[in-house]
């Protein structure tokens, strides 16, 4: 399975190297491919298009680290936002956050190429301590305000993107809205015995879509999603998509107040990755997604079939046997939430 995936990645990289263009300036710490950082760097068409997209975005939307950008309105609307409460944070949660931030595990150079470049550019001129402290404050405030959700690894990446689009207060509000209205219920569940139960439901949902729509190499994709699901879904695709695709997906997610754009982006990525090397940098990725097999109507048909066959599907679960009943109920509830979301649309 990994062989297939790596082969695909290598093919994509090769394509990137074949079509070269000059890029005027890079901000991020270079990877091993870059021989001389002082010289103008060469990038492929895809990366160059992505670069142009976020350069334009940074300029037009006045994007800067820990600063309210114009893009913030697309996420939260125009209403005034006030932080009303601040509860003390549990020590263990504080330690978990510190582990992921203060030890440098959320520094921009660890992100994938496109996001790394974008984030580094937003953070230009700031000290690393300032950057880490702002991420810490946003996460601590979020966890204090949402103690039942708590801190889960992957949220640090979400906070980084939020801080590129807004100041600390705005970043908190984006996260708060994201987790209260968009992310499926109990997606990051911290309940002992039912950890990440909503995430599991999402994985089964995606696996079913892959299987029913008979994606190419669907069995491999199902295994892949089971193994790599956490890094794909718990980060809301941050380490998977380039920045232009990510922002388009996130804006769509906030506009329709639904997690479905993430599902679509993931399915589209997997499908196209196995079919052929399609340009995933296209800004209007979601328009393309709707034309594909994962169209809304099919999702609805799928969900109804899931509910009809729920007992059969739930037998496929590989979760530990305990708390099984509770999980089944939650899975059904989450499926129902999808139906409701689709109906609203």
């Amino acid at each position: 399975m990994s062989d297939v995936f790596e082969e695909l990645v290598q093919k994509m990289s090769l394509k990137c190297l074949l079509i070269l263009q000059l890029l005027s300036q890079l901000y991020a710490i270079p990877n091993k491919m870059v021989q001389d950082f002082e010289k103008p760097q060469r990038v492929c068409d895809y990366c160059y298009r992505d670069y142009l997209y976020y350069q334009c975005l940074i300029k037009e939307q006045r994007i800067q680290w820990n600063t309210k950008s114009l893009l913030l309105c697309k996420f939260l609307g125009e209403q005034k936002r006030i932080i009303k409460i601040q509860q003390p944070l549990e020590l263990s949660e504080k330690q978990n956050i510190e582990k992921d931030i203060l030890n440098g595990r959320s520094d921009s150079h660890l992100l994938n190429y496109s996001i790394r470049e974008f984030v580094t550019q937003c953070q230009q001129g700031l000290k690393i301590e300032q950057i880490r402290n702002s991420i810490m404050r946003v996460l601590e405030l979020f966890v204090a305000n949402n103690p039942t959700i708590g801190y889960c690894q992957g949220m640090n990446l979400i906070a980084i993107i939020c801080l590129c689009l807004a100041d600390e207060e705005g970043a908190f509000h984006i996260m708060d809205q994201l987790f209260s209205t968009i992310v499926p219920q109990r997606f990051y569940s911290s309940s002992s015995g039912a950890y990440l139960i909503g995430y599991y439901a999402e994985v089964y949902f995606l696996q079913e879509i892959i299987q029913i729509n008979k994606f190419k190499d669907w069995q491999i994709l199902m295994q892949f999603i089971e193994l790599q699901g956490p890094s794909l879904l718990l980060t809301l695709m941050i380490q998977v998509l380039n920045i232009s695709s990510l922002l388009v997906t996130w804006i769509q997610m906030f506009q329709i107040q639904s997690f479905i754009p993430i599902d679509k982006a993931l399915l589209y990525t997997l499908q196209t990755a196995t079919l052929k090397n399609i340009d995933l940098m296209v800004q209007f990725i979601l328009n393309n997604i709707t034309q594909k097999q994962v169209a809304l109507g099919q999702i609805m048909i799928l969900i109804s079939s899931i509910n009809q066959k729920k007992s059969q599907i739930l037998k496929l679960t590989k979760l530990p046997p305990y708390k099984q009943i509770l999980k089944r109920i939650a899975q059904i509830q989450i499926k129902m939430q999808y139906i409701n979301n689709i109906n609203k649309e």
Partner: protein, 208 residues
């Protein structure tokens, strides 16, 4: 997901998982063992990553498929699903993180609950031993715990490559020993292992 290209034949393919609390250095232990690399900062492992390395143990080529798991408590249910089919476990704590040492009991219980513990070999590893100024767990405490559970124990440093190879080789030797015993008792089918000597050599003898 990482993979180390390796075209060599092997006698045994075994699955090893590396577990332990978040931030104890599991990913760096793996990077040091498989790629001779160490990085001060790296992204937290979400879910799982794995590497492959073939080593010689007692004249046998052992292909280790090593699974690097997420350490945060919230990923415990996910981690448990990776125990299936594992023949070896590297249980890691950090000598500069007392809590990670105290959680070793919990990890051991988890192994007992989710594997046939008689068939699974364990090594207890106290990582970050190079950071003596910040040490919170003594070597004696680690040894005492390992004796209590009858598990081999190593204090390691992924940074300075101290005892990393030794830990894996110790584990590998005991895995082979178990596999040989199982085979001798005709119990081999019970294990999820693959003895590919014949198969791979047939391939090599082919027309190409």
């Amino acid at each position: 997901m990482s993979r180390q290209a390796n075209s060599q034949d092997y006698d045994w393919l075994v699955k090893v998982i590396v577990i332990g609390d978040s931030g104890v250095g599991k990913t760096n232990i793996l990077s040091q063992f498989c790629d001779a690399k160490f990085s001060i900062t790296h992204m937290a492992t979400l879910g799982v990553d794995f590497k492959i390395k073939t080593i010689d143990v007692d004249g046998k080529k052992l292909k280790l498929q090593i699974w690097d798991t997420a350490g945060q408590e919230r990923f415990r249910n996910i981690t448990k699903t990776y125990y299936k089919g594992a023949q070896g476990v590297i249980l890691t704590y950090s000598v500069i993180d007392r809590q990670s040492f105290q959680n070793v009991d919990g990890w051991l219980r988890s192994i007992q609950e989710n594997t046939n513990s008689n068939d699974v070999q364990l090594v207890l590893v106290g990582n970050k031993a190079d950071m003596s100024a910040e040490r919170q767990v003594t070597m004696e405490e680690g040894q005492k715990l390992s004796q209590q559970y009858n598990i081999p124990f190593f204090e390691t440093s992924a940074k300075s490559n101290m005892n990393i190879n030794e830990s894996f080789h110790n584990l590998a030797q005991r895995i082979i020993s178990t596999l040989c015993k199982m085979q001798a008792n005709d119990d081999a089918p019970k294990l999820n292992l693959k003895q590919t000597e014949g198969k791979e050599k047939t391939k090599a003898d082919g027309c190409c």
